[in-house]
Amino acid sequence: MLSMTNIPDQKSLSRQLAVAERRNKIKAFVLVVPLLLFVLASFVLPIASLVWLGGYNDTFSKALPETTRLLQQWDAKSPISEELAASFVTELRAAKLKDAAVPTRVATVINREQAGSLSKIKQVLTASDMASPFKEHLIALNDEWAKPDIWHAMKIVAPSFTPRFYLQALDHRITADGTIVSETDDNAIQILLFSRTLMVAAIVTLLCAILGFPIAYIMAHAETKTSNMMLIVVLLPFWTSLLVRTTAWIALLQQNGVINDLLVRIGLIDNDHRLVMMYNMFATLVAMTHVLLPFMILPLFSVMKSIKGNLTRAALSLGATPWTAFWKVYFPQTIPGLGAGCLLVFILAVGYYITPALVGGQSGQLISNIIAFHMQKTLNWSLASAIGTLLLIGVLLLYWLYNRLVGIDKMKLA
């Protein structure tokens, strides 16, 4: 017999459900903990420190705290006070006694704002007779200390929290009196590099789409045997070192390379007029397109594979010309794959480093190369971080845009 008793009320039912679910939730959480920690340590924290480093630099203020305070009080117009000069010299020399490397670091930071400051500060450190009145002594050491420029530079670098790196990443700088001015044309290099990077990424994405679409189409509609073979060929570059692939392009494109030799041999070009295809923008575009092509083909292939074969036939049977059938029926189905491929290639291209570094020469350098330059050569990590953060924001904006236009849920990667 069926019985309607013993049915618990709604509340206890939901409590029972919660109890039953809790165990599964804990289990699921425990399973993802290792990955979570890994992501936290290797991804979230570095990015957070990147963003932080772009706006925070305490090299100066840590070594010369009193000077920092006095510089902030200074209006940048009146002559500097003896108090400021005294504090600067004593704190600098005190810092040297604690750690000899610190004053050099401080001097480097100042030097970035005002070239030539490094040697003057070193003079201060090595001078034997630095006593009150410090201002006179400084000027006696080098009459540059009488000019406001070096003090302005110090006022700019003194605050720990500063927008100057982000401003510099956007070709602007802050002056001693706090106004923001745009960089002179000679020094305005970041925006140029940003726009060049975006342009290269866009061209590479377009080239990948144009080259990848037909291949993905043929792969998706070939017999299994052929399509597997093609898939292996497409994936082959993935199994080869990126460095090898890139240097292979050097062998192909350089002036005494395979392509030039071939063109000379068949008489298309004169031996004295070999084409310059290496160490320029052209080489960057070619090599990057080659390296990133699989990232376009794979999502396209997987999406095309899932398109029902008889849709195009249905369109034809309904009177559509082959072009209309392709454009109105087939192509719209490939949008999720095309979108995913484009987003993937574009994001990878925007941050691409090794290929432009190797084949790009001067005109083929991208924003990532300038980040590496500041990380490794000038050791201006704050600027590198600021540029990196702006790049990250750009990519996130793009992602947001893609989500608005296509919808991230429609993205199919494989």
Binding site: R313, L316, L318, G319, A320, P322, A325, K328, V329
Partner: protein
Amino acid sequence: MSDGFVRFENIQKTYDGKSLVVKSLNLSIGRGEFLTMLGPSGSGKTTTLMMLAGFESATGGEIYLDGIKINNIPPHKRGLGMVFQNYALFPHMTIAENVAFPLKVRGVSKADAEDKVRKALDMVQMSGLQSRKPAQLSGGQQQRIALARALVFEPKLLLMDEPLGALDKQLREHMQYEIKHLHDRLGITVVYVTHDQSEALTMSDRIAVFDDGRIQQLATPDELYEKPENSFVAQFIGENNKLRGVVKEISNGRARVEIGGNTIIDALPIQAEIGKPTIVSVRPERVEIEPSASEVTASGRIEEIIYLGDHIRIRMTVLGSSNFVVKVRNRSGRRTFTAGEEVRIGWALQDCRALDV
């Protein structure tokens, strides 16, 4: 019946250059006819339909539509409506856009198109779903939309490739009647491909039974069922009892067939030669148990009785064949049977056909 609205003349098709998928096919389909191509998979029926639609090219022979040779006309210029397996609705378009598609590519004005779309959807009882996407509809609804889309531009000919294959049994039967009524109402010529014989029997004016790249028999449903011309057709359409034997004599329109080495029964000689083996075919419902007066009689032992509601299915051993099935109508006052019982059975001569092996 057939004025040759669609004509296949000596059509051949090979995919690999070695074996023929369609072997010298000749078929003439009349205007307004509902013709079904029926056969197992790999029999060439779908290939034949695809050649008619223009998606496959014939490697030999000619196809005529309304007197015009269409071999070299691309599919989009043939003006045929087609309903595909799995519907083939365009997933990114709404129902209205799907149905309007053939009108749009033909440059029909928007107002006209809207009117026609509405009528087409009314016709398949699907009005009110215009703004939905195909994925939001059930299989049966999608099938109706596909039908509306194939008919909305008033094609000369409607091709259907196993259109009901993905539906469940009940819906399939319902749709069969609906398609048949639609055909009756519109008078359009339909070429329908299926492997489901009951579907073919239900809807068709004529059925072409395909096997091994050939038409085995082309006939109306009743003729096909009652007068199969070879054992493939007898096997493929409906249930069939097979008695293997050797033709001893043919005279007066009767073949005398020796079965099991010692019994001789009479059968209609359809494909029988003296001295050659033959299969005698009898439909289960044409066999009478304890017949009052039958032209052909035999004895059998009841092996198994299955109660099926409207009829009783009795499996018995007859002339050495243990798979001989008899269907007895379940009318009131019928005789009861028990397993192991020996009974006399009999059937009319015209229901008993000696066919090829």
